[in-house]
Symmetry: C2
Subunit: 96 residues, 2 copies
């Protein structure tokens, strides 16, 4: 049966655990050279992950990303894209 | 003398006229496969433009971007990055 958005988001969130060190749990990265992913277009995120996986992005930082992307399945990419495209910055208990 | 942020933003805005067809005047693109640029990290935007200019991004859509990036100077890239990193969606007169 069809998954709810919440279930879909949760799946992406689990898969994103390895990504958030650089890209931030809410997709806002803490490093100037790492892109924010929050609210990014889902199809673009999938296309970018595919480009890293297929070594079609080969500039300095891309090499690092290739390592992360090479083992991702198409479904992984969709789940990650869904998560980062929909994640919000949780301002209720903003960490000091 | 030092430029004001407003002057810096205006310079980037002029240079971005060719970009906004795909990426949106406020950096929110209307096409699922074109990335949003609003609020993106400046250094990342410069690094991405350099990668396109140096043909270090060669996936399908990248080819299109190479054409736009190939004539950009380093200063152009910084000005464009400043603009898109700082542009906001103007909600005062939101187009219907």
């Amino acid at each position: 049966e069809e998954m709810t958005p919440e279930q879909q988001f949760e799946i992406g969130k689990q898969k994103a655990l390895v990504c958030i060190t650089c890209h931030g749990a809410d997709g806002i990265s803490a490093t100037e050279t790492y892109p924010n992913l929050q609210g990014q277009k889902q199809q673009y995120l999938v296309a970018a992950l595919k480009a890293y996986k297929q070594n079609q992005r080969v500039d300095g930082l891309a090499i690092l990303m290739q390592g992360y992307a090479k083992d991702l399945s198409d479904q992984d990419m969709k789940d990650l894209a869904y998560y980062f495209s929909n994640v919000k910055t949780d301002t209720t208990h903003q960490s000091q």
